[in-house]
Amino acid sequence: MARVLVDVMLKPEILDPQGEAVANALPRLGVNGITSVRIGKRIELEFEGEPDLDQARAVADALLANPVIETFTIHLEEVVAADTAEAAETGEENAA
């Protein structure tokens, strides 16, 4: 199975007050080296059969992103079978 990931970001010239608020909070965590934070959205589309990238693009263009203020990128994500993924997660935990 595969899913399509759509990443939506505000265009660079559009003010992102949420990102600025997060950036302003960082010094309170003791973090000072980060100069900019921009916040976007990640949308995961799962298809019944083979994922249709063109259809995903059309959906992103018409609904998921507003081209007046946002841009989007689309890519396929291979989903590993559930049990393998779980094992991988456990493995990671063990490693940590």
């Binding site: 003010l15 007050p17 203020i69």
Partner: protein, 234 residues
Amino acid sequence: MTARIGVVTFPGSLDDRDAQRAIRLAGAQPVALWHGETALRGVDAVILPGGFSYGDYLRGGAIARFAPVMETLVDAAKGGLPVLGICNGFQILCESHLLPGALTRNAHLHFRRRSQRLRVENTTSAFTGHFDAGQEIVIPVKNGEGRFVADERTLDELEGEGRVVVRYVDGNPSGAMRDIAGISNAAGNVVGMMPHPEHAVEALTGPSVDGLGLFTSVIAHLGRTAVGAGSSQT
């Protein structure tokens, strides 16, 4: 003949009843329209009210744009039907591409609710004929995502064509570009504004009764342009 003005209720609309009341006080007959039906019930004009249609999920107005009622409304608006979008209604009109630009989160991140002074800059739209050019009015504003943005070319075009209908005076509540509070389409029949004229129609509950002017304006506009032209719609 009394003008019939529709008010669309979406799931999450808040100000539909206030808009209906304003229409009645202005002397027209309010007609309730439902987001899930394409029927416009032969109304002569439509108000898209404030609120949080579909929970403002994704973006304000983004999902409402695809409601069945919008299929009919977008065509009718392109055909000249007067449509006023207030707050969330303005967002829906922008998402529907009936108006240019977009409404984004207020620059200061605060939800801003206050009585707001505005300058009426366009008195030729379907909803502003009863005002004088340059007239200042006071109408409540209440939103968290009311910052009008558009690219420079669009902003120049709106100003050049006199399509900035109302502009903020004495402070900009959202950081809206060029202090824009409301705009119209090129034909002047579609108007979107962030402030809420339906909350300024009675001395008891509003900061003024200036909002009534938008509703009486469209009634007068309909009187000039043959009321009932809309009755051919279903």
